[in-house]
Symmetry: C2
Subunit: 158 residues, 2 copies
């Protein structure tokens, strides 16, 4: 049943042990699922987890994702119009490209270097912890389709 996954299990278990959280099958499976499906929504995580643990409740996945987000083992992103999505790549404050047409999400490195990697023109007195950048546009595939399909059905740049 759990033969060829030692690496994953060990990575996830080790990460959990470094927190004060208990090491449970469910949390390990959630961590693996998020690693294997970058930017997955909760539904996808549930399906993936159930491949190895068919009986997990959706609530366990919701709880795990929340808890793991709180301790910083996963990061939750939520581009406008999207449900919550999760990723395992953390700590480097990278950003995202989102395709307006097919909703593909791709990582991009932080524009300048370390968080916060940008400074607003005036900060209104805020103590700024993080700058989150989302680049909206068209992925290579969708951009080509737009060009091929007549050219002027795709309106102007914002």
């Amino acid at each position: 049943m759990n033969g060829t996954k030692y690496e994953h299990d060990e990575d996830a278990a080790a990460a959990l042990r470094q927190t004060s959280l208990r090491v449970t099958k469910q949390r390990i499976a959630v961590l693996d699922a998020v690693r294997d499906h970058p930017h997955a929504d909760t539904e996808t995580v549930i399906r993936s987890v159930r491949e190895s643990l068919p009986a997990v409740s959706h609530q366990a996945v919701y709880d795990s994702l929340h808890t793991l987000t709180e301790v910083g083992l996963v990061r939750c992103i939520q581009p406008s119009g999207s449900v919550a999505r999760y990723e395992r790549r953390i700590g480097d404050n990278h950003h995202h490209l989102v395709c307006r047409s097919c909703n593909l999400i791709v990582d991009v490195d932080c524009t300048i270097g370390q968080a916060p990697c940008l400074t607003p023109s005036h900060d209104a007195g805020f103590v700024i912890e993080q700058a989150e950048v989302t680049f909206w546009g068209l992925c290579p595939d969708c951009a080509h389709v737009g060009v091929q399909a007549a050219g002027d059905s795709q309106p102007s740049v914002v």
Copy 2:
């Protein structure tokens, strides 16, 4: 009933006439509500609209907000963990400061100048239309409370 609001009504009506949309009481009231409550969520817009038009349905407000967003008279933003919020300031691609503690949202001018005002380090072949920046942190009030209240209950910077 509608005595002292000529300025607002005229602004909103004029904006609507410049589109191909019909000029209706409901849409004017929605435009005024969004102007009077920057970054308001739909619930707030509904309450505000009902001050002048008690009988509007929530569906009319949802429809209006969608339609007005489509034609570009309002802009919809959705910081992670928040419901949809709307603003009347459009066309300048400004960005937002969001307080992690009280959810206050404040506008900041575009960091460099025109959209897209940032360029990712590598674009993965995307055609980029817009860069959306959200600065997360603590507003002046919440930052002060954090400092006063013992200093180490408020954890580290991300």
